[in-house]
Amino acid sequence: MQGLARNDFFTRSSRWARDWRLRPNSGHLWKDIIFLLCIAFIQMTVLPSLFGSYGYLDLITPWLVVTFICQRPLKALCLASIAAIVLETRLAVPAGLYLCIYWILCSLLIQIRPALSWRYRTPWFVCYVGATLWVLLFESFVINFLQADLLAEPHYFVHALLRLIVATGYGMYLSSEWMNIDAEEPVPQ
């Protein structure tokens, strides 16, 4: 039967493209790390250069939310730490800011994930909005220590709202494969 399977260039290419499709739960830790670095590259380099000041969006948070729901705890914590270090060594944020944010988010989601049904849109939606708001509020809290004036600027709120909408929309797209009634359960048993 194996010999009857198509093995031409297009079949191999489409199989390769399927294997290397950018997704948060690929099944291998090394692949997840590579994908996470790709998302960080898109977030920190590609989007700002394409959209200017409106390009400072948050793709890593929804990506990590899916990771925290679908991965085993140790892997999830490992990926959260990598994401936090990537962000902290690229930006001028106070050291430990994202480590703190993502560790808390990871622990919380791992505790609540068995209690929810992930076949419906609502839990995913609430998780994305909650996670993005958590990141935004924690950042605002720190900015308040350093630079209170920025919080009074209207563009800060416009930008925060844009980040919230994009992060939620991107997260809903990422988790669409689990939002069917006959879909596989994402939480590892």
């Binding site: 106070p94 050291a95 630079q147 920025l150």
Partner: protein, 295 residues
């Protein structure tokens, strides 16, 4: 038994996680300042892609602006020729004045204001977040860039190097809220500490200090590794505090941070920091604060 152990482990992690914000807020709230390979491993991996992306994007922009969007070129050309003629006359005058100044300096025994070597670097990464501002430049440890070195443009101060990779370095921008710079008001010689605040900077001074709109600020050269006299910005607003003691000066930096393409990294680095690194080695920077105090 194994289940009990796992549950215990999770409880410990949960408690540690809940305590982590307290540890974080008790820290100095400073960004990572490191040249360690391990800390910057992810950035070393991402750097070549960032470089390629920036080079490709730059190529597209250059092709567009040099070969397609040329509608204003003729008008600009005429205006530039007129400006050039005017400037040529001024340059002759300036050259004469410069010679005169150097003669006078020699006579007075003053040292030149900055004589160190410098490294010219291309900006390859824009400031990534509106609230935490850095730029990435194309020269790193291999090219001689060190932590603490000041970065400037022809217009004025840009910031200070906070991280160095093999072929890149991150510059902490002057307008970041975590950035402080010792400055002088050029006209009145009043000294103060300038602090970044979004797209401008603020300076708090005693109310008796004489300041006017349009006054220029320069670096004081006392701490922070910046040579004395580098232009920083100009005063655009003065607001008096309700305590009747202080006044807040809003300063617009001379450098346009949205349009920086190249920066000059001055090898006039922070002398105090360099002395520490020479004595204790590069690894000292990566030590926790408590160990540094002990060491």
């Amino acid at each position: 038994m194994a289940r009990h152990k796992t549950r215990m482990l999770w409880r410990v992690i949960l408690v540690a996680t809940l305590l982590s914000p307290f540890v974080f807020f008790s820290s100095a709230l400073r960004p990572w300042t490191s040249s360690s390979q391990m800390t910057l491993l992810s950035q070393e991996i991402l750097y070549p892609f960032e470089y390629i992306w920036n080079a490709s994007a730059g190529l597209v922009v250059r092709v567009w602006s040099h070969y397609v969007a040329l509608t204003q070129v003729a008008t600009q050309n005429t205006a530039l020729i007129e400006d050039m003629n005017l400037l040529k006359t001024k340059i002759l005058d300036y050259e004469e004045k410069q010679l005169e100044i150097s003669r006078l300096r020699q006579l007075l025994g003053f040292a030149q204001h900055f004589q160190g070597t410098h490294i010219v670097a291309e900006v390859i990464g824009t400031r990534s977040y509106p609230s935490f501002k850095t730029i990435r430049i194309s020269e790193g440890k291999r090219d001689g860039v060190k932590i603490g070195m000041p970065a400037v443009t022809a217009e004025g101060v840009v910031g200070r190097v906070i991280r160095t990779g093999q072929k890149f370095a991150d510059v902490h921008l002057l307008i970041d809220s975590n950035f402080n710079l010792d400055v002088l008001l050029q006209r009145t010689r009043v000294r103060g500490v300038l602090k970044g605040a979004d797209s401008y900077c603020v300076l708090k001074l005693n109310r008796r200090a004489e300041v006017r709109i349009g006054d220029t600020l320069i670096t004081s050269g006392i701490i922070g590794g910046f040579a004395k006299g580098l232009p920083v910005g100009r005063v655009v607003r003065i607001s008096y505090e309700s305590d009747n003691i202080s006044q807040t000066i809003t300063v617009e930096p001379w450098t346009n941070f949205d349009r920086i393409e190249e920066v000059i990294v001055l090898e006039n680095q922070d002398q105090e920091l360099q002395k520490i690194i020479e004595t204790a080695g590069d690894a000292w920077l990566n030590k926790p604060f408590e160990d540094q105090k002990g060491g």
